[in-house]
């Protein structure tokens, strides 16, 4: 590269003025502990996770406290969420025969994931708990245990294995190929993708918000080149737009998580074809 191009590049990019921009990465999610009990470090996502429980319980307790035929606004909101999970997730996907037993489980999962996701956009909290992978794993394992236990309860252990691994209408040599694939996809890949989907969406969404926010701050204040400021403002506006996208994504991930849970339970309970 010639000296002239270098000079132009320096003038345009202002690399001499400010210090280098540090892009956010996975390390942005490793927050310092808020406080420690003995050797146990209590971090922000742990506190948020614990905080979400009294929040949910409090809301639905308040919503169901004064039950009336003509519901108050609060009761209506509570019943709307319950009705949504019960009718459009549980009844449609678990099947009308068994769904009522699973409504509490699905409802708990839905509200728990939803509230923890929306912590991402609440000012000062601003951290989705499930953007730490270790928080998503136990939830997915719980779902894994529940749907497999349902299948074993309904069909018996070997009956369930047959139900999972042997699709109806397949016979002969192709079974050699189908059985390992079906086993892999139903027993092993399902919990992994369930946990990873929730984690990756929360992680990527929050990373995007951090990137736009810190990028805007850097371009406006620290880049050492006043011509960067408009781009910084653009980055800031884009950050706001991405927040609106996040409102949708956060709900969608809670919905998809619950939907897939219901679908897996429904699949395990379904009759032999």
């Amino acid at each position: 590269m010639s000296a002239a191009t270098n000079a132009v590049l320096t003038a345009v990019l202002g690399s001499e003025g400010g210090e280098a921009f540090q892009p956010p990465g996975p390390e942005s999610f490793e927050l310092p502990p808020v406080f420690e009990i003995g050797s146990l470090e209590i971090t922000k996502p742990m506190l948020l996770l614990a905080f979400s429980v009294p929040l949910i319980v409090g809301f639905f307790w308040a919503a169901s406290r004064k039950q009336a035929v003509v519901p108050s606004k609060l009761q209506f909101a509570g019943e709307y969420v319950y009705g949504f999970v019960r009718n459009s997730i549980a009844r449609d996907l678990v099947g009308s025969q068994y769904f009522i037993k699973f409504v509490p489980f699905l409802f708990t999962i839905f509200t728990f994931v939803l509230v923890n996701n929306y912590f991402s956009l609440v000012p000062f909290l601003q951290f989705p708990s499930f953007s730490r992978f270790s928080f998503a794993i136990p939830l997915a394992l719980l779902v894994w245990v529940v749907y497999n236990a349902c299948g074993v309860y309904k069909h018996g252990f070997f009956g369930y294995l047959k139900h999972v691994c042997v699709p109806p209408g397949v016979s002969g040599v192709i079974l050699l190929l189908i059985i390992p694939l079906e086993f892999l996809s139903t027993i092993l890949v399902r919990p992994a993708t369930l946990a990873l989907r929730l984690f990756a969406n929360m992680f990527a969404g929050h990373l995007l918000l951090i990137l736009f926010a810190t990028g805007a701050a850097f371009l406006i204040f620290d880049s050492g080149n006043p011509w960067y400021a408009p781009v910084g403002v653009l980055s800031f506006i884009l950050g706001i737009l991405v927040s609106f996208l996040e409102v949708l994504v956060l709900f969608l991930q809670a919905y998809v998580f619950t939907l897939l849970t219901a679908m897996y339970i429904g699949g395990a309970l379904s009759d032999e074809h």
């Binding site: 996907l93 990873l196 989907r197 998809v256 939907l259 679908m263």
Partner: protein
């Protein structure tokens, strides 16, 4: 100016094209189906979400590997 970062992310960007197209096709078919027969929506929705979950699994495995490898 120095640009630093992981080449993995470029690979992940390329790899995400496939699931992106797949998810687009799934929801295009879903919208088509609902437009033709609105009363089939609840039945089609679960199938569409299942297909979406399966196609998205590829993108998710991709992002996990992009960070891990």
């Amino acid at each position: 100016m120095e640009i630093s970062g992981s080449m993995n992310m470029i690979g992940y960007g390329l790899a995400a094209i496939g699931p992106g197209i797949g998810i687009g096709l799934i929801f295009a078919a879903y919208i088509n189906g609902v437009a033709r027969q609105p009363e089939a929506q609840s039945r089609l929705q679960s199938i569409a979400i299942l297909g979406f979950a399966l196609a998205e699994a590829l993108a998710i495995i991709g992002i996990a590997l992009a960070f891990v490898l």
